[in-house]
């Protein structure tokens, strides 16, 4: 706190006088006392020296020496680092527009802001250092000179399970959360392309299907708190006014929180090391084939491409879900990911130009290019199934060692196969009768792209020949054209593996199916014989053999 930092009888003064005038008197007195007694400044500020040291070492690179959110790294980041001089903070337990409590700031320092570049510092800094840096951060604004605002009473979750979720869905529509967050919660509402924060930087409506990236936490309680407090500095308002005005109730807001929570998986997905492709009798026919519902899905996190210039620190796609099956003849892969725009989409032009403006600098001057771009996803494999641990360079191979790619784009909506020897050295392959096929669906902020390719092809020189029972390296990359992403500016992932189940191997699909069919056939035979026997005995119509029971007994 500022009064603490000035360290001049702060306790007495703070209690005795109130308001902004009081602050001026206090500050004046403090100034005068400091000027008269220089030693006053050096008597107590050890904690602040510590906070300053921690800040300069760990925080100033992004947040700037003066706390204005303008450190050397800031220009690469969206959302931008917090400007502490305005004392406006998203994550609070206090009312909308109020200052955060010290504990609120401490939580952000401890846990970070998952949807942003701000990491948690629990593992890096001691508790004392984190407390000291919170004090130091507050000293950037005189707003913290007064008493700490009270935390809101958030009450308890009334629960309600599925009923709460269902009515929460209706409320989500009714209070028009979808205007920004979209009908399915993927941040694709009609107002999303024009959202700005208080510093006029473009800001995303949160993707409500990825609660592990929510700032301030992804629990029902956390979501409820955000509804009450709003996220100050962002377009997200507080809904407390609707309760005070009598239009809605706190119970309604809990229901919305339950619904929003239900849009994300029960647990945050574990990054996949291996995508398992089960052996199936019938391959899914399309990206929305109901058969996909029964196929395991694997989460593959992606990050901005920051190795090859121009780099990209603000990708749209945080990761992709991958599902795969094969039938011994062909491999079918479905890649699904959130992208709030079906690029090129002119309604996102304002977003793209603003991102270009704020991310344009020496490193990625091309980002200023306003041309509309398609969305793109790439599935990357080595040229051959490797025999050892060696793999090509993960970023589209290298001049020495090529990779084999499946590259799908949204406009024109088609996929090609290619080989690559670097991100700038991609060579499409000529189409063949057994080429890769792809089909895609765009649904309310989500792409679902299904790739189909025969395991082996006539061309075995430039195309990977898939083998079952082997871990085959695979990597995925994604671009959002409406975010100005193209070329080296996109989201990339490191090597993982895909494993195609072996035919006839234990635990595969075929043997259980055969056994099930054989059992069912045997049951039918038994039933028929029993019925036949019963009829033969002249007791037709009074049979004690009832087929369903028999079938269950067997």
């Amino acid at each position: 706190m500022s009064t603490e930092r000035r360290a001049v009888g702060s306790g007495q003064w703070a209690v005795g006088v109130r308001g902004a005038t009081a602050y001026c008197l206090l500050a004046t007195a403090a100034f005068a006392l400091v000027a008269l007694r220089p030693s006053a400044q050096t008597q107590q500020p050890a904690a602040d020296d510590r906070g300053r040291a921690v800040y300069v070492k760990w925080c100033a690179g992004c947040h700037g020496d003066q706390g204005r959110g303008d450190g050397p790294a800031a220009r690469h980041l969206l959302p931008r680092p917090r400007d502490f001089t305005r004392a406006v903070y998203q994550i609070r337990t206090t009312a909308n527009g109020e200052l955060p409590r010290g504990a609120d700031l401490r939580r952000v320092v401890d846990d970070g802001m998952p949807g942003t570049s701000m990491p948690g510092w629990r593992a890096t800094l001691s508790g004392q250092d984190r407390e000291a840096v919170v004090r130091y951060v507050r000293s950037f604004s005189t707003a913290f000179a007064g008493t700490e605002p009270a935390a809101l009473d958030f009450g308890g979750d009334p629960g309600g399970a599925q009923a709460a979720i269902d009515s929460g869905r209706a409320l989500y529509r009714g209070i028009e959360c979808w205007k920004c967050h979209g009908d399915a919660g993927r941040g694709d509402g009609p107002s999303a392309p024009r959202l700005e924060d208080d510093w006029n930087f473009p800001i995303r409506a949160a993707n409500l299907t990825e609660n592990w990236l929510f700032n301030g936490g992804g629990d029902v309680q956390d979501i409820y708190r955000r509804l009450l407090t709003g996220l100050d500095g962002t377009p997200m308002p507080s809904f407390t006014s609707t309760v005070e005005g009598g239009q809605y109730t706190f119970a309604d807001l809990w229901r919305i929180a339950h619904y929003v929570r239900s849009l994300s998986p029960e647990d945050p997905p574990r990054p996949a090391d291996v995508v398992r492709a089960a052996l199936v009798a019938a391959l899914p026919a399309a990206p929305d084939d109901s058969a996909w519902a029964a196929v395991d899905r694997f989460w593959v996190p992606l990050a901005g491409q920051v190795i090859v210039r121009p780099r990209w620190f603000a990708p749209t796609v945080s990761g992709v879900w991958v599902q795969a099956v094969h039938d011994g003849g062909s491999l079918v892969l479905r890649v699904s990911w959130t992208d709030p725009s079906e690029s090129p989409d002119s309604t996102w032009n304002p977003w793209r130009s603003r991102v270009a403006t704020h991310m344009a600098h020496d490193d990625s001057a091309a980002a200023a290019d306003p041309a509309p771009r398609p969305d793109r996803v790439v599935v990357q494999f080595p040229m051959r199934v490797p025999t050892g641990m060696d793999r090509p360079y993960f970023l589209a191979g290298s001049p020495d060692e090529a990779v084999y790619l499946w590259q799908w784009e949204s406009a024109p909506r088609a996929a090609v196969e290619a080989t690559a020897r670097g991100l700038d050295a991609v060579s499409p392959l000529a189409a063949a009768s057994d080429s890769l096929r792809a089909a895609a669906v765009y649904d309310r902020g989500e792409w679902r792209v299904q790739f189909t390719r025969s395991l082996t092809t006539a061309d075995s020189t430039d195309r990977l020949q898939f083998a079952t029972g082997r871990a085959i390296p695979m990597a995925l990359f994604a671009w959002d054209g409406s975010n100005g992403e193209a070329g080296t500016r996109g989201a990339v992932g490191s090597w993982i593996s895909i494993y195609l189940a072996e035919p006839g191997g234990a635990g595969t699909f075929v043997w259980p199916l055969v056994m099930t069919l054989a059992t069912a056939g045997l049951v039918l035979v038994v039933i028929r014989r029993a019925q036949h026997a019963a009829r033969a005995a002249g007791t037709a119509g009074q049979s004690t053999i009832r087929t369903p029971d028999t079938a269950e007994a067997v």
Partner: protein
């Protein structure tokens, strides 16, 4: 020591020593309304009237695309147009905020007006777009559209607010510190912007359809009058008024 002397001392010393004059004045405005009488002798008070002329090429106002919000589009059968630079038919400029910037006795403390100021969201447009309010005076924020607006204040001296109004309703807020101007915006409808000038005194006005303004009940003295426009910036003029005098001033804004 009387209350206003304490305030004045605080303000002056703060300005002199720490440069936080804004914060100092906020305290005086926050004094309870009931305890303060209007501190100016109205029998000798002066009036300043004036106009803001516009010189230059009349700006073309862009049509607002409200197609995503049928209810609001329906309230503008002839289309809705941007109000960032409204030049009146008589060649004057509307939506100019005019206020006494300097010259008032620092010891004067003005009662907080009992009547509230209302900003209405109607047809996905703010009414009014530019207006003044006194520190501590109630701002009623009204939604007459029956659809989701959020109203966000993005101040630098005051605390921010960001209120959700998903239906017809009215919410009240106040400002604690003088600030020229506090932007208000709706993030659901990116074309919705308004600006509120927060002062410690009642000497403010906004030009309307005839480009004129009137500031009444001023104590005799010499004042710095400032005009503010969202696109064309600020201008100031020195004006001296004697007891019971009415003076006319003219501003010209070049586009």
């Amino acid at each position: 020591m009387s209350a206003w002397k304490l305030v004045a001392l605080g303000t002056i010393s703060a300005l002199a020593l720490t440069g936080c004059g804004g914060g100092g004045e906020a305290g005086s405005g926050g004094t309870p309304a009931a305890a303060v009488a209007f501190p100016v002798d109205t029998t000798t008070a002066a009036t300043i009237t004036g106009t803001v002329r516009f010189a230059g090429t009349r700006p073309t106002l862009a049509r607002i695309d409200m197609s995503e919000e049928a209810t609001c589009a329906g309230k503008h059968p002839n289309g809705a147009f941007s109000e960032v630079a409204v030049v009146n038919s008589n060649g004057t400029l509307a939506n100019v905020f005019v206020y006494v910037k300097e010259g008032l006795d620092a010891g004067l403390t003005f009662p907080v007006p009992r009547e509230a100021v209302t900003i209405n969201q109607d047809g996905c447009i703010y009414h009014p777009r530019v207006f003044g309010i006194q520190v501590g005076q109630t701002l009623n924020i009204q939604n007459s559209d029956g659809l989701l607006h959020n109203i966000k204040a993005v101040p630098t001296a005051n605390r921010p607010f960001n209120i959700s109004q998903p239906t017809n309703m009215t919410t009240s807020r106040t400002f604690t510190t003088p600030e020229i101007m506090v932007p208000l915006e709706c993030n659901v409808h990116s074309w919705m912007n308004a600006f509120v000038g927060v002062t410690t005194h009642p000497y403010h006005a906004t030009t309307g359809a005839d480009g004129s303004f009137t500031i009444r009940r001023l104590p005799p003295g010499t004042y710095t009058l400032e005009i503010w426009h969202e696109r064309f910036g600020v201008q100031t003029q020195q004006v001296t008024v004697g007891a019971s005098e009415s003076k006319t001033v003219a501003f010209t804004v070049r586009g």
